[in-house]
Structures are given as C-alpha cells and as structure tokens.
Symmetry: C3
Subunit: 182 residues, 3 copies
C-alpha cells in the first residue's frame, strides 16, 4: 500500500512491546528515512506502549493526523475511538502509529496517505534549515521529493498490504536524499 503510493520501504523491523526498545528503533529508523510507520501497540492492553514511545521521542505532535485516522475508522467500527495511535515529528521525520489489526492499519493509513506527500514537503522546504538527529551526516539540506527513490533497497519483506499483521513493527520509508542516510 505504501509502495503503491510511491513510498519505497527501506527497512522494517519487529520490536518487542517494551517502550525503551521502541524508542530506540524509532530514533534509529528516523536517521534512515523521512517517514516511519509503526503497526501495533496502540491498544489498551498494559503492554501497548507504542504511542507513549512515540510521544517520548517526537518533539512535536500532529494531533490532526491521529484524529483523522480515528474519524475515518469510525465509519467502519465504533471501536475506532479506542485506538491510541499518535503521529509526530522526530526531527524532520514523520512518525505514524497504525493499529495492529490489518483492517485497522489499512483504514488508518488510507485516512492519511493523501496528505503525506504534502506533509513531507512541508517538513523540509528550501527556505528551512534542516536539523536532523545526526546533522553532521546531512551536510546539504535539500527540498524533499516525497516520491522518493524507487531504487532504494527494502531491507525486509512486508505482506501484500505493506503492513505486518501484528506486533509493534516499524516500517521505515526512505530518506528523500538517501545518499545522506547514516
């Protein structure tokens, strides 16, 4: 689904439901990519802490994206209001929490996918200094091309929907400027 929308997947990983591990994974993936999508860990179980990890590492939140995912989900099920996923910016990388259920994840991603290319353009525009987690590795800030680089290798397979069916997986989308990836 992400690849169909011209977001080539550069990395995926499966992380245990431990907040410090998820935070570490988010920080690492944010150095590789402008978009990090997580699935799972957004529910009410005491082990569901992906939103907390995301809040902890993202200096700035995007409440409107999470609201939109729930509003669209509500058209399918009243239980969409229970999804606790958040969206935020970790430096110049957009992090999006999707639910763990495949239907919920697809519905949520579909709710925000149309605005993601524009969102990624806004994060880094030509007039904006471009601090990232490791600025030394990004000597030449440039405008983002959200269509990405289709040739970027995908480090792990994903299922037909581009989403793993369960667990707090993270799927990293490529840096628009992959040669500067650490």
């Amino acid at each position: 689904m992400l690849e169909a929308a011209r977001f080539p997947v550069v990395d995926t990983c499966v992380i245990a439901d431990e907040q410090p591990l998820i935070e570490d994974a988010l920080r690492r993936l944010a150095t590789q990519s402008r978009l990090v999508v997580t699935t799972g860990g957004t529910g009410l179980s005491v082990r569901d802490v992906t939103p907390e990890a995301t809040r902890a590492v993202c200096g700035r939140l995007l409440d409107g994206l999470a609201e939109q995912m729930r509003a669209e989900g509500l058209k399918e099920t009243p239980f969409a209001v229970l999804s606790r996923g958040v969206c935020g910016l970790l430096g110049a990388t957009l992090v999006i929490n999707l639910p763990g259920s495949p239907q919920g994840a697809v519905c949520s991603l579909r709710a925000v996918l149309p605005v993601l290319p524009h969102a990624l353009r806004l994060v880094v525009d030509a007039n904006t200094p471009h601090p990232v987690p490791h600025p030394a590795s990004h000597p030449a800030p440039r405008p983002v091309d959200p269509t990405g680089h289709p040739g970027v290798p995908v480090s792990a397979p994903v299922d037909d929907e581009g989403i793993r069916p369960s667990g707090p997986d993270t799927v990293a989308e490529p840096l628009s400027d992959p040669e500067s990836a650490v």
Copy 2:
C-alpha cells in the same frame, strides 16, 4: 445510567477542586475498580483541574474517547468544544472525565458507554501480563467480565442518572475480580 449498563457502582466520593486530592482519589479508586468516572472540574475556571489530575496519574491516554464525547456533545451544543475532559489508563483501570453539568455528563457518558465493555476487555485479556497499581493484591490475573458483580456494595448513593450534578466527584466501577480489591 452506569448501573443500567451493568456497571455496578462500588464507591463514590466528593473531592475538593485540588489537583493533589483528585490525584490521590483516582489512585485509590483505581485499586478498587476497573472503571473510574469523574464528574466536574473539566471546565475553564482556574479551579477546574480534573483533566490535569487525570493526565498526571494516567500513564497512557485515550484521546479518541474524549474526542468522541465532544463530537457527540457538539450535536447538542456548540459549547461542547470547551469541555477539557480526558480519558486514560491508570494501570489497568480506565479513568473517564465527564463534565459537571448533568446534561453534559449524561451526553458524554452516552457517547462512550457502548464501547466501554469492549475497552475493559481489551485492557486485560487472557494473554496479557496484568500489572496493576498494587500487584501483590491481584495474585490471579483473569480476563475481565465487564458486566461485573451486581452484588458489590455501593458505598455512596448517586442520583437517578448515576451522576452527581456538580463537583469533581468520582464514581468507581467494580473490579471484575472484587475479592482481590484492596
């Protein structure tokens, strides 16, 4: 209203509008119950601090429930957008802030009541380790039965709607496993 929905009320109390006192009450009630409902203290007055107390004690928030309460309220009054109530999880207990006005409280509770049984099932499922504020008193984690135990005594009366008309009251719903209540 809560009892009609098969949530027997096990405790109620009236707390002054002081954030530390509200936090203490929430922590105490969360040891007795899987659902704690507050009324009042969600407005804009400088003494309205129930949401702040709730955020302070709840490690995890449920923004979607609060959004849903406001969205339903908006069908009755444009001033529903001013309600600052939040919902969150204090360990394995769900905390819900309702407005202090009886109409607002009823409307808000009605907005989320249909999903509460499922929500409480999700908080503790059979496959989930079950940390609670006082784990020693909960030696045998079990799946939640949100219909509760109708025989649990109610420690204070509530009005016909199951809601007190004003003040930052808290109404505690029973533990599904009341014999483990402290």
Copy 3:
C-alpha cells in the same frame, strides 16, 4: 475580524521562530489580556514551534477548540489535518494558535469565535478565586465582560482581517478589567 466580534486588539507583536522567545511573549501578553491569538508557526517545518511554546506555558489545554478548528478547516482543504495549533489557558488567559496562512487563520478563527465570549466568561466567574500570573496586580477579581472595553488603545495595527498574514505573530485581546493590567 476580532474587532468586528468586539474583541478590541490591545497589542500585537512579531516574534522570531524561537520557542523561548514565543514563550516569553505569551507570558507577557497574558498579563495584558484575557485572549492571546497567535498566527503562524503551527506547521511541520522544523522551525514551527508555536504549539510547543504554547503547551509549555499553558498549564491547561483546550483540545476541543483545536479539534474544532481542524474539523472546520477540513471542509475547505484536506490539509487542515496538518495544522498543529493548540489552545490553552495561561492562568486566566486563553491562548489560541492560528495557522500562518491568511485563509487558514480566518477559517480557524471563524470556527471558534462563536464560543469565545462564553469561554472567557467561564474562565473567571463571580464565584471563582482568580489567580493570574501576577496576582498582586489583580486585587479585585471580577466577572469577565467578554465584550471588553472598546476604548482600549490598540498598540499596533493589524490588517483588514485582524490577522497578520505570516510569522508567529501574537495578537493580544484586552483584559476585561483593563485598569488592573500590569
């Protein structure tokens, strides 16, 4: 637009996109006014930190107002979900973040303007103690009259819409009780 709604503008200023400077400006304007409206700095660019400054200084948030601004914006553009503006209370002063684009700012302000007079009445009612950032300068708490005092001088001009077209400007609305302003 604000003046047409009987909110006379008492001060405006233009602040650089630096969180500490925005926080200082918000704190200063809150001593002069019951309503502070910012424009700009709510986007995704790494320099957009007005919501973070607002969260940092506002002890209490009003999520419903921000939701309402985005919901109304969504009727005009799908990109409204990307606005990160927040609303909150700094003591007894209401702070509202509007987007930097004139269309976005007008749309967002229009979404909440009808409830602002009532909101300001709720912040300070006759039965409520009235702590403010500098309580010593407010010896006589009084009910707010949100129609304000049309004679209060406006310290800087604003454009026809009452909103500056760009930058993290702040527009302070008058104290209802201007003789107590510091």
